[in-house]
């Protein structure tokens, strides 16, 4: 599969600090990738290098088939983490200006701006100054400005930070719409549930190093769940019999019911059957592993990409 984006052995240091350390990444055309990691992991530096705003100390980079994003700027939509607008400029004029800088011809541009604003509930704001809009409204304007030229590659750095749930949903839909249109989307976030919700594929970065690169479904499958959430029908029921089951390692009270931790290598299906035959449940489910938990377990385990990822991860890294 063609890669819209390929990073090979990218390294970037700032003085004594290594921000990105020998990062390999390949994002196939049309994919929806999430770069996740805690604050300071190196996500923004990586994105800035992709955008040729910063330049790597070593390694190679290819963006939409070019050695530098400078040669493909008009095909890339970018929403930086440090985003801003010309505060005194009118919203419509700002979007037209950004579109013109991205090489969009003037014909039909005002109409395109108007319909874009209407799509995110900002109809009638073209003549308002940017400083008159709220933070959430501005974020929508900025995302619209990033996609107004219908880019082939859309790079979003923390696109949902600081938004209320309704605005987040609108931007979320806008991103997915761009993906459906055919754009390759790469976005970074330190809120891993967002990546979990949107992405097909995630790349985890910690302290400048890639610690995971895989499809979300494969990650979940690989990090097999060993916790069952159980709520007995009778809240006062004695749970001691559960502790004596061969598959059960530990039973801990949770907010609603109990978290039953299974012994390594046990079959979750068999365990569920044994538990329900021992005590009647009002609810029983296999706890899905969250990216956050997986990330924490990887970081705490001290193992990186090479140690943990299997075939899928390797495929993601080299596709």
């Amino acid at each position: 599969m063609d890669a819209a984006l390929r990073l090979t052995g990218i390294r970037k240091t700032f003085g004594a600090t290594t921000a990105v350390d020998h990062l390999d990444l390949a994002v196939p055309v049309g994919a929806l990738y999430g770069v996740i990691g805690p604050n300071g992991a190196g996500k923004t530096t990586t994105i800035r290098m992709i955008m040729s705003i910063l330049f790597p100390d070593s390694g190679e980079l290819s963006v939409l088939g070019h050695r530098s994003a400078l040669d493909a700027k008009d095909r890339i939509g970018y929403l930086p983490e440090e985003r801003g607008v010309y505060r005194k400029m009118h919203v419509g004029a700002f979007m037209v200006y950004m579109a013109q800088l991205k090489g969009v011809s003037d014909a039909g541009l005002p109409a395109r701006v108007r319909s874009g604003l209407e799509r995110v509930g900002l109809g009638g704001t073209e003549r308002k100054r940017c400083e008159e809009l709220s933070k959430g409204m501005l974020q929508k304007v900025q995302l619209l400005a990033a996609i107004i030229h219908q880019p082939d590659l859309l790079i979003l750095d923390e696109p949902f930070s600081g938004l209320d749930p309704v605005s987040m949903r609108q931007l979320h839909d806008l991103v997915l719409e761009e993906h459906r249109r055919g754009a390759t989307v790469l976005f970074s976030t330190h809120v891993m549930t967002q990546a979990e919700e949107i992405c097909e594929h995630v790349v985890m970065i910690d302290r400048g190093r890639k610690v995971m690169d895989d499809r979300v479904t494969d990650i979940r499958r690989r990090y097999d769940p060993r916790t069952i959430r159980f709520e007995p029908l009778d809240p006062a029921a004695d749970i001691t019999p559960l502790r004596s089951l061969a598959e059960v390692e530990q039973v801990e009270p949770a907010t609603h019911g109990y978290d039953i931790r299974l012994v390594d290598g046990s079959d979750p299906g068999a365990a569920i059957r044994r538990i329900t035959s021992t005590l009647t449940p009002s609810r029983i489910e296999l706890a899905r592993p969250r990216l956050e938990d997986i990330f924490v377990s990887i970081v705490e385990g001290g193992s990186g990409e090479s140690g943990r990822s299997g075939g899928a991860g390797g495929e993601g890294a080299t596709a």
Binding site: M51, G84, K88, L101, Q142
Partner: protein, 458 residues
């Protein structure tokens, strides 16, 4: 190129299409117009006539009577008219026409300058002690003020045999006497003493005045196209006007560049822009946009200056190629200084931090202004010649020399331009390096050493 044009157009419009710019740029010409047109009407009222007494102690017995004549309001007015007539005779024709067309207004203007003709009475006296006390005693309302005490020396009118010079007089005045009134008294006493001396010698004052008077003709400046009455003021002001315009244009553009770059950086719009254009395109667009702003302002002021010269029929005195040189040197200096300014703007986070980095640039630009007088006076001295080749002061110095009385040889002008172009290339190259790194740097502003490191690193 299209992107550079777009950025330049936005930069230009964002500056020009603001109330602050319109007010700021039009304010100066508007204030000048106001001063020349409305001002005289507002200030047309004659100042109040001063009524006062002047005590005279005259041991010669010949000056007091003469002083009564010379200090008479009509005599004072006649002397003023004569002075004004002589000044006007030496002024350009346009000024003479203006004075003739305004009629009485010119008298009002003279009154404003030297004060209304005072109504002064002479009081004879003989005791200097009591007169000094008289001078400082408070005068009652509606009574003439005690203005001065004049003590004529005994040898002021007749020259003693063993003296080579006549005596003079002493003048005593109270605190806060209007210097214009004092000038009237001094002038009247001088006239009275001279008249008394002339009378003593049985001479004819009018004849003497005619003997001593030689009319000074205005010199005529000969140019290739015409001949025109020389204006000393024009010749003296021209170098400073041109260098002032150059400095003003460059400072205005440079300041605009720092401000807009700092604004873009602090509002965090810079990274959005860098996703669409390269740092060099952004730099070039910004510099060209602000250059457009400065050119508009310069064109406005040059146009006003030419109109003013035309209205005084002095346009022929201006060598129009100087305007061409001004524009060429402006572009060179602006690009050099503007590049440095935009680099400063990119390296800092707020205007306050920019001040310390801008200081060396501003001081460098002030050097030619400080040295303008010696360069204009000695345009071909070794110092003037040397400074014409040291950027970024070279263009200022050369412009001063070109507008001076002895313009430099052509090869020096071309050499200054060549050095200027070289300094532009170097400044833009260095600025683009700092700009590229500085734009995304936040936190502690860099010192000079760090900037040099950025230039090497980028």
């Amino acid at each position: 190129m299209r992107k550079i044009g777009l950025i330049a157009a936005r930069e230009f419009l964002a500056t020009v299409a603001t109330r602050g710019f319109i007010v700021g740029v039009l304010l100066m010409p508007a204030l000048l117009a106001l001063a020349f047109s409305v001002g005289p009407r507002i200030m047309n009222q004659r100042s109040a006539t001063v009524h006062g007494q002047v005590a005279v102690i005259d041991p010669t017995g010949r000056v007091t009577s003469a002083l009564r004549t010379t200090i008479d309001p009509q005599a004072i007015a006649a002397r003023r008219d004569e002075t004004a007539r002589r000044v006007l005779a030496a002024a350009p024709a346009a000024v003479r026409d203006l004075a003739a067309s305004t009629g009485n207004t010119s008298n009002a203007a003279v009154d404003r300058m030297v004060g209304a003709v005072p109504d002064l009475q002479i009081v004879d006296s003989s005791d200097i002690g009591s007169q000094k006390a008289w001078l400082i005693e408070p005068t009652k309302e509606l009574q003439p003020r005690h203005i001065a005490v004049v003590v004529i020396h005994h040898d002021a009118v007749s020259l003693p045999a063993d003296h080579a010079e006549y005596g003079t007089y002493d003048l005593y005045v109270p605190v806060n006497l209007d210097d214009r009134i004092e000038a009237v008294i001094v002038d009247s006493v001088r006239e009275a003493i001279v008249n008394a001396r002339v009378l003593t010698q049985s001479l004819d004052r009018e004849h003497l005045d005619a003997l001593l008077r030689v009319q000074r003709p205005p010199s005529v400046t000969v140019t290739r196209n015409n001949e025109q009455v020389t204006s000393g003021v024009f010749n003296r002001v021209l170098p400073f006007a041109f260098v002032g315009l150059l400095l003003f244009g460059v400072l205005m553009g440079g300041q605009g560049l720092v401000t807009s770059t700092v604004e873009e950086k602090s509002s965090r719009v810079i990274e959005v822009l860098l996703s669409a254009v390269s740092p060099f395109e952004l730099l070039a667009g910004k510099i060209l946009g602000q250059m457009g702003v400065s050119l508009v302002v310069l064109a406005l002021y040059i146009g006003l200056g030419l109109m003013l010269l035309a209205s005084f029929t002095m346009l022929g005195l201006l060598d129009i190629t100087l305007v061409f040189y001004l524009m060429v040197f402006f572009v060179i200096t602006y690009l050099t200084i503007g590049s440095a300014m935009v680099a400063v703007g990119s390296a800092v986070n707020e205007m306050r931090e920019a001040q310390s980095l801008m200081m060396p640039i501003m001081l460098t630009m002030m050097v030619p202004w400080v040295l303008a007088a010696p360069i204009a006076r000695e345009p071909n001295s070794t110092f003037s010649t040397a400074i014409s080749f040291i950027p970024p002061m070279n263009t200022f110095a050369m412009l001063l020399r070109l507008t001076s009385s002895a313009p430099p040889p052509a090869w020096q002008v071309w050499l200054t331009m060549g050095i200027g172009v070289g300094s532009v290339v170097a400044a833009v190259w260095m600025a683009s390096k700092v700009f590229k790194i500085g734009l995304l740097m936040y936190g502690k502003p860099p010192d000079f050493k760090t900037l040099v490191r950025w230039v090497r690193a980028a």
